[in-house]
C-alpha cells in the first residue's frame, strides 16, 4: 500500500499549524490584556486582535463565504465529512487524549504514598538538634575569631610604632 498517495499536507498540517498559531495568540492575548498593565496590556490587545484575525481568515479559507478569500483548505467531503473538520477533530482528540493521560498520571502519583522517599533522610538527627546550643557554639566561634583578629592587629601596630 502506498501510504504517501493520499496525504493531505495542505488540509491537515498547514491548516492546523495556522489554527494553532491563532489559538495560542488568542489565549496569550486574552491573558496579557486582562492581567497586563500599560505597555503589556497594549501588546495583549494586539496579540488578541492578531489571533482573532488569523482564526477568522482560517474559517473563511476553510468554509468559504467571501469571494476575495480563496478556499485554500479545501473543504471537499470525505465520507460525508469535511477534510478540515477531520483535521480539527484529529488534533483535538489527540490533545484530549494527552490531557487524559496526564490527569491519570497525576492521579496515580498523588494516590501512591511517596512519603517513603523521605526515609532516606535522617530526620532523627534533626530532631535531636538543640538549636539554642548550636547558636551559642556559633557565637563563641565567631567571638574567638574576632578576638584572634584583634590580637593580630594590635601586635602589628606595636611593631610599626617600634
Amino acid at each position: 500500500m502506498d501510504m504517501t498517495s493520499n496525504f493531505e499536507l495542505m488540509e491537515f498540517f498547514v491548516s492546523m499549524l495556522i489554527v494553532g498559531i491563532g489559538v495560542a495568540l488568542l489565549a496569550t492575548g486574552l491573558f496579557t490584556s486582562y492581567f497586563g498593565a500599560g505597555k503589556s496590556q497594549k501588546i495583549g490587545f494586539a496579540l488578541l486582535f492578531l489571533g482573532a484575525i488569523i482564526l477568522t481568515l482560517t474559517y473563511f479559507m476553510a468554509f468559504g463565504g467571501i469571494d476575495a478569500i480563496p478556499t485554500l483548505f479545501d473543504a471537499k467531503e470525505v465520507d460525508g465529512d469535511l477534510k478540515f473538520m477531520n483535521a480539527l477533530i484529529s488534533g483535538v482528540a489527540a490533545l484530549g487524549g494527552m490531557i487524559i493521560g496526564m490527569f491519570a498520571i497525576l492521579f496515580v502519583l498523588m494516590k501512591v504514598d511517596t512519603v517513603d522517599d523521605l526515609e532516606d533522610l535522617d530526620l532523627e538527627d534533626l530532631e535531636d538538634l538543640d538549636l539554642d546550643e548550636e547558636l551559642k557554639k556559633l557565637e563563641e566561634e565567631l567571638n574567638q575569631a574576632d578576638d584572634s583578629g584583634e590580637a593580630e592587629n594590635n601586635s602589628e601596630n606595636s611593631e610599626d610604632e617600634k
Binding site: 498540517f13 499549524l17 494553532g20 494586539a46 477531520n86 488534533g91 482528540a93 496526564m102 491519570a104
Partner: protein, 90 residues
Amino acid sequence: MMDIVISMGLVGIMLSMLGMGLLIAYYGSSKTRNVGFLFLIIGVGLAYYLTMEVTPWEEVAFWNGMLAFIGGIIGGIIGIIVFLIAIIKS
C-alpha cells in the same frame, strides 16, 4: 469519524504515558520509580494494541490525523514564541 477520535485519543494517551513514564522511571526513586515503570508498560501496551489490533499505521486517514496533531502543536509553540518575543522586546 469515531475511529479517528478513538485512535487519536489513544495515541495521545500513549504519548503521555511513554513520555511521563520515561521521566518518572529515570528521575523517580523507590515507589515513584516503580510507578514510572508501570506507566511505561501501559504506554508500550497501548502502542502494541494500536499497531497489532487497531492497525492504524497503514491507514492514510490516521497519518493525516497525526499531521494535524503535529501541525497544531508546532503552531501553538510558534504562537507562544511570538508572544514571548513581543513581551520581552517591549
